[in-house]
């Protein structure tokens, strides 16, 4: 392509609205932008004055896809502010439902949204005819994940019963055992998806960047940990502002972030994979091997593949969590907390990367101040930097091909735009 | 173990009936001619109703508007007003509906024999009365005078216009028609139905009055009937309530303690006069 503009207005098959603008003149990249025009929703302002007990249900509504992650992150932050550490049972159930969301979201992305790109289809609809078996496997896994979240959380989107310091209802042991059986069957389906992904040819593009993810001494971190970086070192979550530095660009309604070291960094499945590969479950590591996938991988297109590996991990690790729960037996627990003024940060690895919630509460438990740092927001700058590196490498190709590649690049990050625009909107001036 | 008596069949299972003919009467009403599966007779008494099913949409109580004296089919006159009735209006000959019933108490025709009959129908209220009127006309000699008062909101809402013309031409029926509001072509009487009463003289002792219409109508018609000296136990009303089962179980149609579907829909005024919920 020599001259012209690539405009992707309202990128499809992502959650939320995003535009891509690229201008090429004389065979050279003139300008490019990754814009987020999504309506801003002001959550940080909306939670002000609300009770600590309502914060999770409010912030859950930031994003329909990772509502469980937002709920858990808000609860964690509030509990930190109140100085509460929930029981082991509570934590096990939280980890279990978070795995459910990871599977649900990754399957949605890898299966429904990204797979059509690799199979040359505009959406999953035509695949129903052409690749019925694959589609049915995807649906089966997606159904499993949703019913799993329904069981633990009452509802897969905007969970009901996860509250500060516990749960308002518990699954029965029979229900958990039945879920365990289904997850075992789900593992077989996950392997079928791994096989499908082995056949896909993933664009070969690499760019060195920093990958951030939570790290926990005992497990492949999802629910909690310290902030680890592929550049080395860890930062406690309470100091996240030292590592994660937010900033604003005028053409995007979403806040962006850089790290203390680099102008951009990436979070998400690939970042977790790169940081915590050693802690993946045995089958997940086998899946990675089968896919010829090793850390540290700097190809952003591989994020989707990392998601597939994490699906295997989440399924297998859930068997462990359920066994622990069943061994302990489920019982009702006291959830009462002492309300007090305080400040707390929560950090959870949601499907798209690490999420931070930070609240200051007054002595009545009402929110005085809130700050939310969303994974997609953290990736925006990295996406733009990837574009800057990618376009010159492919600038000789036809416009349509460049456009598709750029779309695929953005989609590989599985951007959740409604999440990242919780904050503000910028007009073009 | 002792074998208990086992109930079989089902109260809620409809019989299927085929739509034989559909005739548009007005913009909102159509007349359906139906025939039960295997040519069974419906066996209704004038004034009874059936529960009509459009499977997948629902069930609605509809009066049978044809007389049992008129052969193996029966007719329903239906106003399109909600889910079931609109679905009925979309039906064509050859389509099927479900029928339960006939249900309820109709008009006590035996008691009416030999009496003068005064019918007062408002709007769609003619639908249930028509079955009795047809019955009476088919056995004309066993009844006294037959007076029919019928009112509609405007000429385009008149039902059964051909039949009305026929009635008007018959010597053995005193037929009076009115509309609330006329139009350019209307040459007849204008005014609500009560304005027809002054022109009819009756012998109250030998007259049985029968009325059906929208809820607001009853109160005014009753005033006229009572003013004519017709005794309370010679006035019949056909009432309408929400119904789900048609057989006195679902509770919806209760008028105070009385089930409209079972003890009615045809009531003797003397019977419901004391019911505060009966007439608005």
């Amino acid at each position: 392509m020599k001259d012209g503009k690539i405009q992707v207005h309202y990128l499809t098959r992502v959650e939320g609205h995003g535009n891509i603008h690229v201008e090429i003149a004389g065979g050279e990249l003139r300008s490019f932008r990754w814009e987020i025009p999504e309506a801003p929703r002001f959550f940080e302002a909306m939670v002000r004055g609300q009770s600590y007990a309502d914060v999770a249900h409010i912030t859950s509504r930031i994003c329909g896809i990772c509502s469980i992650g937002h709920t858990l992150c808000a609860l964690q932050a509030v509990e930190n502010a109140l100085g509460v550490r929930p029981s082991e049972q509570t934590l096990l159930l939280r980890k279990l439902i978070l795995h459910g969301e990871t599977v649900q979201s990754h399957i949605l992305h890898a299966g429904y949204l990204a797979a059509p790109d690799f199979l040359g289809a505009p959406s999953v609809v035509p695949l129903v005819e052409s690749h019925r078996e694959v589609v049915l496997t995807i649906i089966r896994l997606h159904r499993l994940a949703n019913e799993w979240c329904d069981l633990i959380g009452g509802r897969t989107t905007h969970p009901i019963n996860a509250v500060v310091n516990g749960w308002t209802s518990l699954p029965t042991e029979e229900q958990l055992s039945a879920l365990r059986t289904r997850i075992e069957a789900g593992l077989a389906d996950a392997w079928a998806i791994v096989e499908v992904f082995r056949l896909f040819s993933i664009p070969d593009f690499r760019r060195d960047t920093e990958y951030l993810a939570l790290r926990h001494p005992d497990e492949y971190a999802f629910y909690e940990g310290d902030i680890a970086s592929t550049d080395g070192g860890t930062t406690p979550v309470s100091d996240y502002r030292k590592k994660v530095i937010e900033f604003i660009v005028p053409y995007s309604t979403a806040k962006r972030a850089r790290s203390d070291r680099r102008p951009s960094y990436a979070v998400g499945a690939l970042a977790r994979f790169n940081n915590n590969y050693e802690q993946l479950s045995p089958q997940a590591r086998k899946a990675a091997e089968a896919l010829g996938f090793r850390p540290v991988c700097t190809n952003p297109f591989m994020n989707t593949v990392a998601q597939v590996v994490e699906v295997v991990h989440a399924l297998e690790d859930s068997l462990r969590l359920i066994d622990l729960l069943l061994a302990r037996g489920l019982r009702r627990e006291d959830r009462t907390v002492q309300v007090r003024a305080g400040h707390g940060v929560g950090a959870v690895e949601v499907p798209r990367g690490v999420l931070f919630h930070e609240y200051t509460l007054d002595e009545r438990g009402l929110v005085v101040e809130a700050n939310l740092v969303i994974p997609t927001g953290q990736n925006h700058q990295n996406i733009e930097d990837d574009m800057e590196a990618l376009i010159p490498q492919v600038i000789e190709r036809p416009q349509e091909e460049i456009r598709l590649l750029l779309e695929m690049l953005v989609r590989a990050y599985d951007p959740c735009i409604s999440c990242s625009t919780h904050l503000l909107e910028v007009e073009f001036r | 173990m002792e074998d208990r008596k086992i109930v079989s069949g089902s109260l809620y299972l409809p019989r299927m009936a085929e739509v034989i003919q559909v005739e548009r009467l007005t913009e909102k009403e159509k007349l359906f001619t139906l025939r039960l599966e295997k040519g069974q007779a419906l066996g209704q008494h004038p004034g009874q109703f059936v529960e009509v099913s459009v499977l997948g949409i629902g069930e609605a109580p509809i009066s049978v508007s044809s007389s049992p004296t008129r052969g193996g089919t029966f007719e329903l006159c239906v106003r399109a007003i909600g889910d079931v009735t609109n679905a009925l209006h979309r039906m064509k000959p050859g389509d099927w509906v479900g029928i339960r019933g006939p249900f309820g108490h109709g008009f006590p025709v035996e008691k009416m024999r030999g009496k003068d009959l005064l019918f007062a129908a408002g709007g769609l209220g003619l639908a249930p009365l028509r079955s009795l009127i047809q019955f009476v006309l088919d056995e004309r000699e066993s009844f006294g005078r037959v007076i029919v008062l019928y009112g509609a909101r405007n000429p385009s809402e008149l039902l059964f216009t051909e039949e009305l013309t026929a009635w008007a031409l018959r010597r053995d029926i005193e037929f009076h028609l009115t509309v609330d509001r006329g139009d350019a072509t209307w040459t007849g009487h204008v005014g609500v139905i009560t304005t027809l009463f002054p022109s009819v003289a009756v012998n109250p002792r030998s007259t049985v009055a029968v009325t059906c219409g929208p809820p607001v109508m009853y109160r005014f018609v009753l005033i006229e009937l009572l003013a004519k000296g017709i005794p309370e136990n010679q006035i019949y009303l056909s009432l309408e309530r929400r119904m789900k089962c048609g057989v006195g179980k679902c509770g919806h149609c209760q008028i105070n303690g009385v089930y409209c579907c079972q003890e009615g829909p045809v009531f003797l005024y003397a019977q419901i006069k004391g019911l505060k919920e009966a007439i608005g």
């Binding site: 309202y10 499809t12 098959r13 992502v14 959650e15 609205h17 309506a39 801003p40 929703r41 002001f42 940080e44 302002a45 909306m46 004055g49 609300q50 009770s51 309502d54 249900h57 409010i58 509504r61 930031i62 994003c63 329909g64 896809i65 509502s67 949605l108 429904y112 949204l113 059509p116 505009p122 959406s123 999953v124 609809v125 129903v128 049915l136 649906i139 997606h142 159904r143 949703n146 959380g153 009452g154 509802r155 897969t156 989107t157 905007h158 019963n161 509250v163 308002t168 209802s169 005028p250 409604s418 503000l424 909107e425 910028v426 007009e427 001036r429 | 997948g56 949409i57 889910d83 609109n86």
Partner: protein, 255 residues
Amino acid sequence: MKPRVAIFDFGCCEGCQLQIVNLEEEILDLLGPVEMVTWREAMSEHSDDFDIALVEGSITREEEVSRLQWIREQAKTLVALGACAHIGGINCLKNRFDLEEVRRAVYGEYAEWFDTAPTRPLEAVVRVDAVVPGCPVNRQELLEIIKALLLGKKPALPTYSVCVECKRKNNVCVFDKGLVCLGPIVRAGCGAVCPSFGNRCEGCRGLVPEPNLNSHRGVLAQYGLNLEEILHFVNLYGGCQAELASLQGREGGLR
């Protein structure tokens, strides 16, 4: 011809659209009687020619008004999908503040860049033919509404309270568990899902047609809520209802 369905979103979390994906195999059944023509979140295909528009989200910027009006003009049937579209939903929390102040307080030097308007549910802007309430919508109810449209039935919602469904499910009332609940004044249809999972109904489906707000306010006070807490509770999802009701000349909502 099959009805052509398009899905649109305004300010929201897009969780309601997700419930369509969450229909799983039933989506395939749905694709029998209808044709999906526009659904940005899931398809690259796109068409401006549609019969049924499912619209998610609330209006939170002036520029969205004309887009909604355009959708209204194209669509034979416009369905408000979810609490944000139906009653404004969680977005109404924004309306508690003076927007000027918020912009300045939160964004300081950038305040000038931001455009925002008070949250409005769709019905405050255009005519809405059917509603699927809830945050998020209940998948089965969504299907029932779509089926009703296909069958020419009224897309009717229950007019009774969440308590009715709660009792049908034999739940322990959460008032007996030390919580407070909006169930008695909120429209059923969700299967009382929150009380069924031990939590209070927060009113995401909006009020019943004739709520006895006064009496229920008394109940909440009796269970220890002060006026501010009552307002926060009733207006968690329903903060726009009072305004919408007065716009439509009826009673409803607490201010």
